[in-house]
Amino acid sequence: MATSPVDPLLKQLTGPNTRSLLRVIILLTIAAAAVSSRLFSVIRFESIIHEFDPWFNFRATKYLVQNGFYSFWDWFDDRTWHPLGRVTGGTLYPGLMVTSGIIYHVLRFLTFPVDIRNICVLLAPGFSGLTAFATYLLTNEMVTSPSAGLLAAAFMGITPGYISRSVAGSYDNEAIAIFLLVFTFFLWIKAVKLGSVFWGALTALFYGYMVSAWGGYVFITNLLPLHAFVLICMGRYSPRLYVSYTSWYALGTLASMQIPFVGFLPIRSSEHMSALGVFGLLQIVGFVEFVRNQLPSRQFQTLLRALVLVIFAVSFGGLVLLTVSGVIAPWTGRFYSLWDTGYAKIHIPIIASVSEHQPTAWPAFFFDLSMMIWLFPAGVYMCFRKLTDEQVFIVIYAVLASYFAGVMVRLMLTLTPIVCVASAIAFSQILDTYMSIDSPTPEVQANGTPASASVAAASAMLPDGLRSTRNPIVGIYSYTSKLTVVAASTVYLMLFVMHCTWVTSNAYSSPSVVLASRLPDGSQHIIDDYREAYYWLRQNTPENAKIMSWWDYGYQIGGMADRPTLVDNNTWNNTHIATVGKAMSSREEVSYPIMRQHEVDYVLVVFGGLLGYSGDDINKFLWMVRIAEGIWPDEVKERNFFTARGEYRVDDEATPTMKNSLMYKMSYYNYNALFPAGQAQDRVRNTRLPAEGPQLTTIEEAFTSENWIIRIYKVKDLDNFGRDHGSAVAFDKGNKKKRAHKRKGARTLRVE
């Protein structure tokens, strides 16, 4: 018979072995789907590292693999932040590099010599499979329904909110951090449920791993104490909570302090104080509970409760006092801007200048989470109905993460796991209700013995003649309605898969290193100017030539061109970035001494005017001006770059400050030579440029890529005769005007 293999499945007659086999198969399939949906960019383009930050991680990993762990741990990198250097071992989260280094060595041990680049490219897809598995475990802890875990794993495997940060080639900290986040939460829930030191210690271990991997560990550090605190406030203190929380905190704090970048922060900074406070509170509450068990006197209980409140208030006041007096560091700007959303824009332009730090728009939620965004509140609501300790966790996590995701686009990533879990709970509830075929046969058959007494009473009172009152069974038992609902949810699930695939394929799978465009006949045209220019730098400049560019390209220059840079994406020194911003936004006479002082050999700018590539340096120019203005308000003024009517223009009406700035000159140098006279066109700003292009005196053009996206200039040496560059260039051109204006006076006395 054809139906015989399916029949036992439908009737739920399968043994536990069959079910676990099915479960394993489903999980493997989910992992395969998670991995394969992240490979669009590798298949379409090639196996390279995308974006900016991953280039540094890649470079650090290469260093680790080549030089071993110990020299990686105290690696002083003298090829970034040129005059300063960077103590890399103490300023990075080493978890990602160490993980891929271990994988590299394990594979070599197993005689699979894989290139480290391929390991780095494929690390994120590999870990996304593990994330799906961790979500499965976490959801299984939350609800009893066996299907919820599988659904959550499937959601987590393919949801675009997570794929966006973990496609193949995005070798970023988030690649392993989300797995660690979810797995740490799973271990924590397990620890709270069982009250076991073992699980608490495991939580601490994975928390330590998470700390070594991502700066977002602060989220865990605040979420777990909040969970414990809410449980205490709900009167759900139990010895299990004490055991799990204190073992997590004592071990986890020590584990997190082993990372040099974190160091003493868990003691000294405000972000970690909630964990410490709840730790102290739990000691007090535990002690009070102990005494209360000894003494069953109500008077004494109230006394102790008051004692707890007083101690809590006193320690909170002490914390505030310590923070105000400066013993404990206040919130850092990055975290503070999550609360005061206008703070970064006013005080720290470098935080506000990153596009990921903007508030999230509504369409982004639907785009990244599709149907889960409306199943998510339903799932949270269902957690409220049967509130156990671990479901409190879901509720808190959901509320907090929703807020943070609303404030900052980037934090959508931490929202995604809980959305998957909550919506899987809601969805599996629907499926569990409507997919059970068993109709209430005992109640229908046994008219005389209904299930409950109230139903019996109700049916006794009502007349038997009416059809609707004959079987007063509450619930939905007709096959039609069940089939409709099940079919509708199946359609939704399929639509979800299609949406996810579409979004991944179209929005999140494009490497930013190569730009893909379509020719009129539909064939693909690859614009590869970045690598063209970087390889030019790599092959045609001396080994130690210093490159000055805006900080966005620092990591890529270090990774691909292998040349020292002045600033890079690790924006730890704002003044240094402002120096580069000042050099870019000042006149040549001002910026040339700056470049000489910093031993700059080449200057690199990105210019998209020919191609219509909008992410170029002219569009980022105002941020350079703002960051420089923050340090030198007298010398660089943002107002001067706008026309009298407040417009930011690059054409004939551009302000003199704009036209004389180094950035403008470098971007548009010789640009009008491409066009017929007077018709130079900027395709990004959509304006016609002035007929006469800018003149450069202190630097000279060294390289311009094929589509003019990257332009590299060489900083001239000092003039042999000691003249300034302006007059030297004027002399070389045979400029007579200069001589006509020459006057005798205003010479000063020679000192020497």
């Binding site: 009250g195 210690a201 004490y242 055991v243 073992s247 020590l254």
Partner: protein
Amino acid sequence: MPPKNRHPTSASVQPSAPKSTPSAPTTTSSKPLNANTAQDIVQNVWDKYVQRTPQRVKLLDTFMAFLVAVGALQFVYCVIVGNFPFNAFLSGFSATVGQFVLTASLRIQTNPENKAEFESISNERAFADFIFGSLLLHFFCVNFIN
């Protein structure tokens, strides 16, 4: 729960000696507390503790009192002398705190009164967990003290 703030314990630590003398007549818990003075209450608690607590738990309590004393000593030394090798102070201090907490967890888990809370954890399992946690703690502390 751990008798964290029990100073009398650390002062007169002889848990086994008074056990044999069931002296306190006022220990019956059913009796409502009519002696309202603080001293009576403390005395009451103490008597009951001495009478009821098993030997092994008292041993744990002694160890915890010892840890509190060591931690307090370290803290006082740090306050007096200053915290120059801060990581050394931190690792020493947090070793005592962590060990205290782990011991308290062991005490809670092996307490017969908490049987309902910890159904899945036998006493041996609790002890093995304690060993595991302590080993981790000491590894981290030794690593951190440099």
